[in-house]
């Protein structure tokens, strides 16, 4: 399968994905890789019902997404894979998910607005996120921190998050 984009986005499939990233990546399929969402019936139905003839949208458990990643059936697809959190992305990476570049779009914490350290208007990271991001960088994975393709990517180190 051809992975067009791997993204961390706690809003999952929403306007930025369908209207901005999918056309930009010429994606044919979006996979939300999350065990929690897979098990939440209403959330799963709501997400999958946003499918269109041009863009299939599916919610899969992390193991299932891993299987799809190496499946020949997916060879003709251009896929956007969405993880809800950095923690889940790391889980998938540790299970063998191949990641060379990851787009960080939406990360929020706590009940209040603006919990955690602000990296962009829609990315707030706590200590655990920061450790994961540093770990990913050490693995040679490129971080592309921006909400939509037309945004300028933010350099995490320059925001002071890496100190």
């Amino acid at each position: 399968m051809s992975v067009a984009l791997i993204r961390v986005d706690d809003r999952l499939v929403h306007g930025q994905i369908v209207e901005a990233w999918a056309p930009f990546c010429k994606a044919t399929r979006v996979i939300v890789a999350s065990d929690a969402v897979k098990n939440n019936r209403i959330q799963r139905i709501a997400i999958e019902s946003c499918s269109s003839t041009a863009l299939a949208i599916k919610v899969e458990g992390i193991e299932e997404a891993l299987r799809d990643m190496i499946s020949e059936d997916m060879n003709k697809e251009r896929i956007i894979i969405i993880f809800s959190t950095l923690k889940e992305l790391l889980q998938a990476y540790n299970k063998g998910f191949i990641i060379s570049n990851v787009n960080i779009g939406n990360i929020h914490h706590h009940n209040a607005r603006q919990g955690g350290r602000e990296i962009t208007p829609s990315v707030y990271i706590d200590k655990e996120d920061e450790d994961i991001l540093q770990y990913l960088l050490k693995q040679g994975i490129e971080l592309d921190i921006r909400a939509v393709p037309s945004d300028r990517p933010v350099d995490m180190l320059r925001t002071g998050a890496g100190s």
Partner: protein, 134 residues
Amino acid sequence: MIGAIIITHGKLAEVLIATAEGIAGRLENVRCISIDPCDSAKCISDAISNNIKTMNKEDGVIILTDMFGGTPSNIGLSFLEPGKVEILTGVNLPMLLKFTGHRTDKTLPELAMLLKEHGQKSIVLASEMLKGKV
């Protein structure tokens, strides 16, 4: 009187209500939630739940969101309680004005269906409508 919560990206909800009030007069029991990039899902969900708790919901509440598949709609969907809380996506000004005219004389399911149809019918392509007439 059926209540409404309008949930949109940015300030669309606020402005939509202010605009509808300019045309139809003050809207009672109508709340708005504007969603910004910095809002967590939990924060949005709490705002909806607090609004539902504190408003008059004797005749039911309709949640109007800006776009099916967008965050306001995705989070709003979990509040669906058929007959008590309905969710309608793609809110527009004609829909909101129709709401003000029929919120006291219809049941919640009737009003929700009426608004859906009216919102769709209010979208007109002028060249198509006028074809052969001008």
